[in-house]
């Protein structure tokens, strides 16, 4: 694809869409033309891009004529509806939804992990689930170094994963509770302010929820390790927009904490934050707005043969969604 390009953003007014625009600006992405698409509700809304107002248009099957690349962040139903039209029009779709991620002939990509898979695309590249993307960035270099056999992970997931309205709900509930009023639940099924709950995704037959099963299946697909053992517990916490994860891995080859740290210090997309003296480690408020995934609490776990524990945090809206999509789009450009 030759730069500068005509880029379209579907779901432009959503939590992720807004970050896609900011990330295109921040990365100085070579945009020739920008088309903002959304459902009827947001049509006519104006959004700023590089100081200019861009009007949101209603998406329709004809929206993708002449578009080089489209970033979809409007949910699985819309992706299923409009991706075929976009592909037919010759556009390459980077899809943030779960619609196509596990399709065998669709690449699922975190550029730090499996950039080579981008080349196999047939018009659509899927962006992974946010928790899986954030987990993959620091684990991939460790997998390369010592082969990971098992991952046990517990997440501390932000409200942003459920969209802008869930972020507002966290704010509104916090305000109400501080004012002595009851917390109103409209988006999330349980109170999110001053509370913690098992992720609201539907529990599936194996006893794991959909979010947990996505983490397992998508990590396996990106790592090209169809049998990688992963035991996840996904949990929501009252944080706005960065996901944190407590991770314990078991590797084929022994990896000392010092070796792991060395590997992570050189790894792309990773920032080591691991100051034992100052008790300063990855925190979601620090990961917010960063493109990198923070990693710390790097320590050996001697309750397993070759155990290693980590604590990571990454911006759900950026590495978990918008930045990963823009990064894929960058790789589609001819060098």
């Amino acid at each position: 694809m030759k730069a500068p390009v005509h880029i379209a953003v579907l779901g432009a007014t959503g939590a992720v869409g807004v970050e896609v625009l900011k990330t295109l600006e921040r990365r100085n992405f070579p945009v020739r033309k920008l088309t903002l698409l959304a459902s009827e509700r947001s049509v006519g809304k104006k959004m700023k891009f590089k100081g200019q107002d861009v009007t949101v248009e209603q998406v329709n099957p004809e929206s993708f004529k002449g578009v080089d690349v489209a970033i979809f962040s409007a949910g699985a139903t819309r992706s299923r509806e409009f991706a075929p039209h976009a592909i037919k029009a010759g556009c390459v779709v980077v899809d943030n939804s779960s619609a196509f991620r596990m399709d065998a002939d669709i690449p699922l990509v975190v550029p730090e992990v499996n950039p080579g898979d981008i080349k196999k695309h047939k018009g659509l590249i899927a962006n992974p689930n946010c928790s899986a993307a954030i987990l993959a960035v620091p684990l991939w270099p460790l997998h390369q170094a010592a082969k990971i056999n098992r991952i046990v992970v517990s997440t501390y997931q932000a409200a942003s994963g459920a969209g802008a309205r869930a972020m507002a709900e966290l704010e509104n509930q916090s305000r109400d509770i501080l004012d002595g009023k009851p917390a109103k639940k409209e988006i999330l099924p349980h109170q999110i302010a001053f509370n913690v709950f098992s992720h609201n995704a539907r529990i599936q037959e194996n006893g794991y929820n959909e979010e947990e099963n996505k983490m397992v299946e998508e990590t396996r697909k990106m790592f090209h390790e169809p049998k990688l053992a992963i035991c996840p517990t996904c949990v929501r916490v009252p944080v706005y927009r960065a996901h944190t994860e407590s991770v314990v891995i078991e590797t084929e080859r022994k990896l000392t904490a010092a070796e792991a740290r060395k590997v992570l210090l050189k790894a792309p997309g990773v920032k080591v934050v691991d100051d034992r003296e100052k008790n300063y480690f990855p925190m979601p408020i620090d990961a917010t707005n960063l493109l990198e995934v923070l990693v710390g609490r790097i320590r050996e776990d001697d309750t397993a043969q070759n155990g290693l524990a980590l604590f990571i945090s990454g911006d759900q809206l950026l590495k978990g969604a918008a930045w990963n999509a823009v990064q894929i789009a960058e790789m589609l450009l001819e060098k």
Copy 2:
């Protein structure tokens, strides 16, 4: 010890002390006389007990004359200073601090786990760390049923573990952030409102923090399993007063999720909250004010030989402190 008793509460005005009084009332503990003790700062303060005002007195070496049982919740330094005087006066101390927990000849007790150890006391019984106490209640019956070989646990710990002022800090920071002001840090080293951070306890030589090492050592001591393998990650979350824990265990004997549930339904001090259909599981706002530890997300982890995963939540101020102490005091009474 013959009921009704003369009971003293040291640290009566602290977050735990307040809950000790409430729990004594709630349990209708047979109190003949109540002595409230604290440091100079709180002397003269009046607290309600069964509708009566009780005046807080300054603790001194003579405070324990005629006292049958004293619950200490004023930190390790004060416990070390005053426990010898209390014991000498013939009083039995139930100590909430970490001062004596790991002493070989001091019983460390969660009544649901090792009530028999109470009898071995020589004037002092230690109450475990809150995270360890909450973990022990649902894990002990599973250990009895199938022998636990390894525990991987990540915590979601409330502000109350750092005292009443940390709870107030969570409230104040939340209010300030919602008002667009910066969060003031006075008690906790990192912002607690809308954030998550690795527990603020000092990192020790093995790379684990003091809180994590307490969970390991104290669980081993209570379970009488000096080599039990435990890999903990302790994390603070913006919740007021109940700790939640994501737990993965490996057992000697295979325990299906159905069997584990059956064991837990009959276990003392445990309440099973595990509704997959409604996506309703243990939450700290539900565990608040309960004497029981909630347990749910009971599911097999087939990434380990005999793996089982759980999600638990217990009131840090009650089962993690005040209630466990009152419960021990109840067991000291002659039947």
